[in-house]
């Protein structure tokens, strides 16, 4: 499984803090597996993606394998 973690507002859109999806997962498969409002939000360049704690420079290049963790990160709101 791949764990998908939703931060901030994206957790509200997803209706959960995290989700387990079947591996492997690329960008298109991830978007197809998520609720529509989250999938749409992911195209916003302000929303970043991390794989196993490393930010992806190019979200569309996402390749997640068994045991990986994807984090979906909206713009930070300041400490």
């Amino acid at each position: 499984m791949v764990t998908v973690v939703f931060l901030g507002k994206l957790a509200d859109l997803a209706g959960a803090a995290s989700l387990a999806l079947t591996a492997p997962l690329d960008w298109a498969a991830l978007k197809a597996a998520l609720p529509d409002p989250v999938a749409e939000a992911l195209d916003d360049p302000g929303n970043r993606v991390a794989l196993n704690g490393t930010l992806l420079a190019d979200k569309a290049a996402l390749r997640a394998a068994e045991g990986d963790e994807i984090a979906l990160l909206p713009p930070v709101s300041g400490g």
Binding site: V5, G53, E69, L73, S77, G78, G79
Partner: protein
């Protein structure tokens, strides 16, 4: 070199942190400290700070590395709350010790601007029983840009 970078999930006492930090840096010329508290204006009942463990604390350590590279510091304290807070509770405490005051003052200013504008925190407020996510402020981006020259 005294370096204390932490995320805390419960209330802290700033004076205790700053007192211990000051003692841990003998021979300094100056210590500058900043304490941020949850503002009680506008009917805010509670504030929740969310973090993402794989990014948030490592990001604060990178920020500390940058501060040590950029300023002549003897020590740096950076403590940030996560979780649920109420108005009047401390949320962030940054202190820097240096031989000369300008390094200490600027390092705290630098760290605060980056914590506010670039650190991995998401914040929501409860007013009249309703939770609302806080969007990034334009001012935070301007504050951050000051250091990018």
């Amino acid at each position: 070199m005294m370096r204390d970078i932490r995320l805390l999930d419960r209330r802290f006492v700033p004076g205790t942190l700053i007192g211990a930090f000051t003692k841990a840096n003998p021979g300094f010329g100056g210590v500058c400290s900043f304490l941020g508290e949850v503002r009680g204006d506008g009917g805010v009942e509670a504030l929740e700070l969310i973090h993402y463990a794989p990014l948030t604390l490592p990001g604060m350590h990178e920020l500390a590395d940058c501060a040590f590279d950029r300023f002549a510091l003897m020590g740096l304290l950076m403590v940030h709350r996560v979780g649920m807070m109420r108005p009047g509770e401390p949320i962030v405490c940054v202190a820097a010790a240096a031989r000369h005051r300008r390094d200490a003052i600027d390092a705290v200013d630098f760290c605060m601007d980056h914590l506010k504008g670039a650190a991995w925190f998401w914040k929501r407020e409860r007013r009249a029983g309703e939770w609302r996510w806080i969007a990034p402020r334009e001012q935070d981006h301007r504050d951050l840009a000051r250091w990018q020259a």
